[in-house]
Symmetry: C3
Subunit: 350 residues, 3 copies
Amino acid sequence: MFIKNTWYVACTEAELDGLGAQPLGRTICNEKMVFFKGPDGRAVAVEDFCPHRGAPLSLGKVCEGKLVCGYHGLEMGCEGKVVHMPGQRVRGFPANKAYAVAQRYGFVWVWPGDQAQADVAKLPTFEFFDNPDWAYSGGLYHVQADYRLMIDNLMDLTHETYVHASSIGQPEIDETPCKTTLENGQVVLQRHMSGIQAPPFWQMAMSANGLDPQAKVDRWQICRFTPPSHIMIDVGVALAGHGGFHAPPEVKAYSVVVDFITPETETSHWYHWGMARQFKPQDEALTARIREGQGKIFSEDMQMLQLQQANILRWPDRPLLMLNIDSGGVQSRRIIEQLLAQEQTTGVPA
Amino acid sequence: MFIKNTWYVACTEAELDGLGAQPLGRTICNEKMVFFKGPDGRAVAVEDFCPHRGAPLSLGKVCEGKLVCGYHGLEMGCEGKVVHMPGQRVRGFPANKAYAVAQRYGFVWVWPGDQAQADVAKLPTFEFFDNPDWAYSGGLYHVQADYRLMIDNLMDLTHETYVHASSIGQPEIDETPCKTTLENGQVVLQRHMSGIQAPPFWQMAMSANGLDPQAKVDRWQICRFTPPSHIMIDVGVALAGHGGFHAPPEVKAYSVVVDFITPETETSHWYHWGMARQFKPQDEALTARIREGQGKIFSEDMQMLQLQQANILRWPDRPLLMLNIDSGGVQSRRIIEQLLAQEQTTGVPA
Amino acid sequence: MFIKNTWYVACTEAELDGLGAQPLGRTICNEKMVFFKGPDGRAVAVEDFCPHRGAPLSLGKVCEGKLVCGYHGLEMGCEGKVVHMPGQRVRGFPANKAYAVAQRYGFVWVWPGDQAQADVAKLPTFEFFDNPDWAYSGGLYHVQADYRLMIDNLMDLTHETYVHASSIGQPEIDETPCKTTLENGQVVLQRHMSGIQAPPFWQMAMSANGLDPQAKVDRWQICRFTPPSHIMIDVGVALAGHGGFHAPPEVKAYSVVVDFITPETETSHWYHWGMARQFKPQDEALTARIREGQGKIFSEDMQMLQLQQANILRWPDRPLLMLNIDSGGVQSRRIIEQLLAQEQTTGVPA
């Protein structure tokens, strides 16, 4: 069961563009959708099922903004209505469900629920996209695990010490208590470490930003969950004693880890990950290096999550612990539950 | 559920011969069978299950017309009776079901139902097999889709325009209405196009037959379904204005597409496809070229059918349309339904 | 359903040693276990489930005899109790089931049932292990078949004639009756062949032991099943007329085939196979050659058993025969059934 009357990231604009005249089939919240560009060049989405004989429309071709079924040429319009089929009167043909779609920040967003309730005003806003002071790059992983296991993962960074020991992990994460708060429907979990050695990834970032990588630093992690499943994590290091997160730009290396987590089925999800940074935004080689490092780190999480999922399916009745370090995930799941209950009752988005 | 008291193509004689002393295991209409050659060299079939310990008999070896189990040497005779086992008295051993088998036209045919009702007089006859005026070649595909989806496909050739755009498809197929009739228990769907340009496959055939490939042609497609699941399609082109299908041999290129569609399970089938042609029957290079082209074309269908099948399983309650272009498939399915009902009621073949 | 209050071979000590600081995850009798070495260097086993968030503990690392979860650093002790977790008081954490484990003969043995009932006095003893007069080597196969099909296989060697025709099979096996007896809770099946030609594997062994491989021999096979699923098979050849199994060492080549069969699930098992021999125990090249030959022979069984298993699943209601040659397997299964019933009723091991 998923919150459906909300915006999820479906794909990047680049993915859709890269396919040319081919549409993109993707399942989101158990809805099998096909994405294509309508006559005005804007992305649209309808059910990936040809009302004629059930072929996947995603095997078809996009022609002048209509999606032509690859089997017998039925033409599907942006609104899910059949607009043409050779030799047929299509007026009485059943329509497909169409989904509200929006484009922002280089992503295609979809509202899997009731199209009439979709509201672009509810799209999240981020200062670091479309902003020349920031650089961004990222990638996409298909993960065979409940999307909430990814939320747990990202809202509790003590796992870095174990899963990412060679890049961003360090014992001080474990040793420093975290604080979880609720702020305007966001779950915020933060941890501030003082006067420590930076781990390898951050030493690399300090060098790139002209700082001595061996200098003692203050390090921070501020995870922010917003429903349905977006997590932004302020991460960085500043030379020790300059105010940490609040230190002036010239003494720190600072980024936002961007996580758009899109459920596919109950036990799989699409994980759009990336990193936005303020230092050296024009340095494309650095951007590439960060993307590669982050991709490697997140592939370590992926393996863990998939085997954790398999293990949980094998022991379905065994309770899990909810410790203080889990409070970020626990509170995020609680918000999801509340919104789900609300949607079940009223059909209205939160 | 399948019509069982009828003949299906099980394999080619060449497949069975090619295995030497090995038998051939194949599931047909949900019956797991093993085919081998009995003492008189004729193909026979029994259940692929050793009555001793359940090993597949298809792992065994054929020795003097008996099938010797590869596990402990039980010897199975052509009638499904155990004829020998080292150190054992086999008289009381349970028998396997044996299937009526016939050989005709280079194919091994099987009657999956009641052997006592099997009648070779009910084998279909075709003028183009065993006939020096004709050449034939074909192949076998294993398709993960309900066999009726293949019948739909072959009884509605408008899909050629979309699935086979680069070989036999052309917009005129879509634009020309088809006519469906019932003739002696056959479903016949025909389409005749006049004064058009031949598509690439037929240009190749025209050249091979000494005709100008750029000349205007009349083109025809006459699909004939006979139960349980054989489809013969008269296809060809003749120089325009000479009578189309009825034009004299020297101004046309003419073939029969041969389709023997054998159910394996509810969602898979064996597709024996081929082409019989009257022009240049001795030209073996042409035969090979046609076989290669046809194999490529049918592999395009296979991908579509398998994804259509998966899509239909995902939306089990969603109705499909039955348009005029679908009437060939619809009427063929209706005949199958009638024969199935008849067989369920009376146990007697149609 | 498995006998659980008994010892099974879990793995070899070499497997566990070879992993270094990594633990070994293995499912035995449907119990998903993780094996590692405790602080005293002895192997231990607990459920492969982290009580914190359900990650497999087998993804973790062993550190000073404790198993550290690879996700968030929970430390699991040998008894299944959580002994430490960074920043947590672990006293109230739920414990994992721990399994009794023993080490003997280079194998790690596990008692999947009630740890309190485990008794090392019940470990089987074998004269050929830890004995300089004998050489031993073997391997491990993961077989997708009910472990009882492997017992049937090893307690009826008539299959050698068919499955292993090129190595140890010969028609005389089939032709020589076998005798099955019960001796102190063991099932013993024996077959003695006189004055025959040795098959290829034994010709090789005769040569290796300085005997003329073409000489006539007496050959024996004495299969001994002990519950839950250990089978030792005395096999060998002696120059004809010297007493067969009882002939003096210098006129024979003699081995024990060692089979430890450990259920994984209802339709899969771990097969630890090997061979112990008395002749030329110091000849390591011979040991390697025997291991290679035996591995090849047992891979032939594996294919047969897996397809037999699939066939039986497809015909679940079809009875199998129980012939005289099957009496070894039949009686072994009967003992398993009795012990299972006993365990179900009393919870007490036999």
